[in-house]
Structure formats: C-alpha cells, structure tokens
Subunit: 139 residues, 6 copies
Amino acid sequence: MALMPFIEEADASPEVKAVYEDIKSTRKVDWINNFWKVLANDPATLKRTWEDLKQVMGPGTLDPVVKEMLYLAVSVTNNCEYCIVSHTAAARKAGMNDAMLAELVSVVGMANATNRMVNAYRVEPDERLVKAATGGKKK
Amino acid sequence: MALMPFIEEADASPEVKAVYEDIKSTRKVDWINNFWKVLANDPATLKRTWEDLKQVMGPGTLDPVVKEMLYLAVSVTNNCEYCIVSHTAAARKAGMNDAMLAELVSVVGMANATNRMVNAYRVEPDERLVKAATGGKKK
Amino acid sequence: MALMPFIEEADASPEVKAVYEDIKSTRKVDWINNFWKVLANDPATLKRTWEDLKQVMGPGTLDPVVKEMLYLAVSVTNNCEYCIVSHTAAARKAGMNDAMLAELVSVVGMANATNRMVNAYRVEPDERLVKAATGGKKK
Amino acid sequence: MALMPFIEEADASPEVKAVYEDIKSTRKVDWINNFWKVLANDPATLKRTWEDLKQVMGPGTLDPVVKEMLYLAVSVTNNCEYCIVSHTAAARKAGMNDAMLAELVSVVGMANATNRMVNAYRVEPDERLVKAATGGKKK
Amino acid sequence: MALMPFIEEADASPEVKAVYEDIKSTRKVDWINNFWKVLANDPATLKRTWEDLKQVMGPGTLDPVVKEMLYLAVSVTNNCEYCIVSHTAAARKAGMNDAMLAELVSVVGMANATNRMVNAYRVEPDERLVKAATGGKKK
Amino acid sequence: MALMPFIEEADASPEVKAVYEDIKSTRKVDWINNFWKVLANDPATLKRTWEDLKQVMGPGTLDPVVKEMLYLAVSVTNNCEYCIVSHTAAARKAGMNDAMLAELVSVVGMANATNRMVNAYRVEPDERLVKAATGGKKK
C-alpha cells in the first residue's frame, strides 16, 4: 500500500533517470526496485541516499557479504520487512548461504536477549573492557 | 549502579564456579566480567545463558570477528552501553581494527536511516526480491 | 486481522457512544476509525485515551500540522503501520504537502542514523550543549 | 567514556579541518562539538555525515525549529542522550521555548503509547485513511 | 543532568501541590520522586500523566505486582534507566522477590530474542493461532 | 511470505522430529506451529531455542499466565506480529481474559509513553529509588 506513487523509469525526469542509470550500472542489474522508485518523488533525497549507500556499501575494508549481513542484522532488529527482504537477497547474492543466515539469526537473537538482561540489572562496563574497547587509544 | 550484587569468584557456589571456570577456559582469560557476576545471582540463568552464548558465538560458518561485529551492530542499534563496550572489545580481540569499526558504524547508521525511510512510505517488497531472498527455496 | 471485534456505532453502549460523538464533533468528521472501534471493547480505556489525545493534540503553542508531524516521526521510527497511515492522513489534512513529508522523512532517517553513530562511540554531551539544552534554567 | 579519541582542531588534517571550518561558518559558531570530533577519526565518514546533515537540516520547506523538533522527537524515542541534549539545544536556539518543548514531550509520549495499543490489537488501516494518506496520488 | 529544574514541594503552585498531595496519599509515601518534579514544569501534563497512571496502575483485574512487572518488562526492553529503577522498586514493594525478578529478566530476554528470529524469516501467524488469539470473538 | 521453507513433521529428520515430539507432549498439543517449522531448517538452533523456551516458560515462581503476559508486553512493544498473535493465544489459554488483556495494553501503552517523557528530560533516578530497587542488597 505504498503511500506515494512509484516513479517508473519511463516517467523519470533526467535527474532521476541519471540516478537510476547509476544504480543499474553500479549494481549490474537491469531494473530498479521499489525503494528507489518511491524516493524518486523527491529527486534530491533519491540522489543523496543513493550516493550515501554507494559510498557506505562500496569497496572498503569489510567484505561485501559482511556489510550486507550487518545491514540485515540491523533491519531484523528493527523489523523492517522491505529491508529484511532486500538485504537478505543482497547478502545471498554476495555469498551468504543458509548456514550463514542461520548463524546471523542466532547471533541477532542472542544479542537482543542479552542487551535486555544487561539493561535490567544496570550493569556497568568493567574498566578492563572499556580499555580494550578503545583499542589502546588515548581518551 | 548495578541493581543486584556481583557474585565474586571467591564467593561462588560450586554450580556458579563451574560456569566461571568454563568461561575462563573457553575464552582463555583469567577473570570474569560483570555481566556474568550479576547473572550468577540466578545460577540456572547463568548456566543457560553461557551455554547459549558458547554455542551461538562458537565455531561455525562465520568468522568469529564477523559474529562479534553482528553482535555489536545489534547492540549499537539498541543502545546497550555495556554490550557496546564488551563487544567492541571482543571484536577488536578477534581482529576488528579502526577502519572496520568505522565501516560498521556507517553501515549501522545507514541501515537505521533507510529502515525508517521505507517505513514512512509503506514500500512493499518487490516480488523479485522476495524470490531472491528465499534463495530459490520452495515456499 | 484485528484480534478484538470492532464496536460499531450502532452497537455502542451509551458510554461508548458519547465518546464517539465527541470524536466526531471535535474532529468534524462523520465516521469513526478502527482504532477507536477496537479500544471501545474497554470503554474506560477508550474514554481515557480519547481525552488524552484531545488534550495533547488540541490547541496549544505548536501548530496542529507540527504536532501531527511529530506524531508521524515517532510512528515512522517505531514502524507502526496503522499510526503512519492515520497520522500521514491527519498531517495532510492539517496542511502537510509532499515536500514537507519528504523533508520529514529525511530528518527522521538522518536522526535514526546519527543516533546510532553516537551510540557506537559512547560520545558524552559537551558541557556547553548541556547548558544550552537547559535553556539557562537552574539545575 | 568515548571509545575513540577526539580529533581536536589543532591536530586535524587538512581534510578534517576543511569540514570543521564549514561546520563553524554554516552554523555561525566558534567551536566544534564532540560528535564531529569523534567522527573525524574517519575523515570520509565525517565529510559525508556533515554534507548530509547540512542538506537535510538546511533551508527547505519546513521551519528550522520544526526540523530540530522532529530530530528531537526521534532521539527521545530512541533514547540517545547525546542527541537529545544537542538537539534540545539546537531547537532552543532555533526558537523552541519551554511550552513548545512540553508539548513535544506530550506528543512523543502519546505517540509511543498509541503505537503499542494499535500493535497489540493488530488494527488494520481504514481504507479511507489509506486514501487520505496518499494525498490523492495514484498508487 | 536533568534538562529542566525540579519543582520542589515548597515551591509548587497550588495546582502542582494538589497533584503532589494526591500522589503522596494514593501511594502512602511522604516524598515526591524526580519524575513528577520535572513534569511539574508543565502543570497540565503533570496532572494528566498522574491521573492516567493512577487509573492504569490502580485497582483492576490484574494483581498490582503483575502490573508493575509488565511496566518493568517494557522499560527493560526500551532501556529507560529511570523507569527500570523506579519500577523495580515499585514491583519489589508490591511483592516481587529476587526469584520473580530473575524469571522476568529471562522472559524479557527470551521474548526479545525470538521476536527477532521470527522477524528474520517473515513467519506468518498460523490460522489456528489467530483464531485462538481472538478468544473466539467474531472478527 | 516466509523466507525459508517450513519443515513439516512428515519430512523431519529424526533430530527435528524428536524436538517436535517434545513440543507436542510438553504443550499437550497435536500440531507444530510455523515458528518451529522455520527454525527446523537449522536443527541445532531449533533444539537450543526450544530447550531455552521450555526452561524459561516452564514451572517457576511466576504463574504461567503472568509469564505469557510479560512475553506479550515485550512483543507488543517491539511490534512482532507473529509473537503478538501466538502469545495472545498462549496467554488466553493460560487464563488471560479480555479484561486482563485490556489492562495489559493500558500498562504497555503507559510505560512506553512515560519511558520517553523521562528520556526527554534526562531525569536521574532518585537515590531512594535506587536503594529500594536493589532490595537492600549490598552493591
């Protein structure tokens, strides 16, 4: 029940079309998914969001499949259906198999559980853990 | 301001002590952090939570550093201070460096943003993405 | 798939009917939406919730469209479908146009992202910001 | 207990310094707050986040104080302390007074409550509300 | 670091004082806790919130200790420190002992975990469970 | 649109079948609900999750209906549809009637509201409440 119309490629303004073309060539796909078609109602937001995503999810230190799995872990925690579907698809494309997905789901479940167990008792971080977390940086 | 006392190793019952010893030998550390010391007020929960964590975070398909980074991504999304500190520390120990952490933070931020952009417009998953997400499994 | 039946106007008790009439006259509408029809299974909760909403969303310092947009920003963050739909409708009725909605979505996305970036690094508030946030009040 | 060091202006690389200068001139302030100093450990993320924020929170259709209040409403919902403090300060600077803040808090509280009441009974959006929410757009 | 001043009993207006007195007599305590002292900056919100809480947490079908434990379970899930502390205190006063708290923490952890496991796989409710959830009500 | 296939009883491996049988005999039901059928794609996770749930929701200090209501309160806060449906059903089976459900919904709504009101003003816990919350334990 999308609350804004989808801007199809055929109807796109040159500004939107340019982003669509970049999405397709960067991802090596021949179609545009609904998220971008809805964002295209506001071309500046479409462009900014795509540029951000391209930078954030692009080549870096982490393996692409790890980035997609991190994205998925957040989306599962927040229960965003579209994002879970699209990033499960993207993670699979990047190499995630069923066993890896099952491990991700176990870790996400466990983290959501222990986050609350810690909350309940107001446990303060151990000084040794704080030190280790900073990686030895001066604070 | 922990709301329950810490059960120190010296004061631990045999049941609690056995879990503490397993934590130390499994993790190859010589001390017990506060989370376990608080859970130890209820030995059955301590044992169950540790057994779960050992299984979930133990050897599997995913690299240990990836598991720790998934745990951290969830904890950052939920804003659990203790968990952020302890799993940043654990991820560093497993090999996460500053560049990897910065990428994780960028991905987690981006996912939390786009999750809401999708929510706002009630975008439904593209049929092609649903199919790809199932990995070709029969449904 | 509502888990409780809708109490239609025709079937409403006098107590429920009185609330329904107040909703219709306050909002200048001639129908009752599903949220109230479900709450009406417990007349006391229906009445309390409506009285609260009438006070909170009624005349005050903030423009009605701003109040509806704040309501929407929260609902988008929490991913409550019914609330997103109903408060997008209410905000539009109060004057929100497509451009304003697009800006709201961008702000909500950005806030959800930076909230987590701050969480991850455990950044403490600058003393100058704390002071400014109190508006110069004694603390 | 920030987990990464603050990059002070005096120690900033030219790339970081350029962003700092843009922050100061855009906001007409003479200092840099901790959020940016932590992000500066990764100059590309600093630059991207600042450019995004400048666009999203910059001149548009919504009044600056409304944008800051939307940011604050999200941050309160997510319980991000740094963000609540910094955006309460920013909203005050943009014109929010105590009465406006009190109304924001009431709206945010009310939205968080009714979001869950709707969740509990799985209320589906009324067709008339869906139509109104789309603003008459074709779907 | 409360962002608004506390309105102490000695400085309270008659309107605020009346609410304070009702809180003290209803709860049979001789002091006012910080939550109310901050809300008192906006007397209408103080009065509305207290009246709501008195109704919601007052005599009904559920045992007072159960109501306090439900309040605590939500607060732990949302990680609201003040609320966790104050409702742990209230639940203890109403009869919650250490064993009951430990069970609550285990249930809250488990629920937060399985909520995400379900999210990840987009499991749809079984028709039989939907039916049972409605309690045999017509839908 | 489950993203993984359901493992039906007829197709289950001996390891999965053993868990299914234990679920049925423990709960005195003659069928398996979808959650378990999806988890069964990873037998180790199925077994671990079921063993945990059996322990956490099994006989203890709290009444079974209270445990189910706590589970439901968390699921409503997180907006997990499957969990809301299944634990509303389970709570009804354990004795929750409409009036109890209505009270639960009111408490969950109220807690979600006041959690944010406290967040907004950064209210610190009163020393007396911290003391009461610890139940007189040494800290």
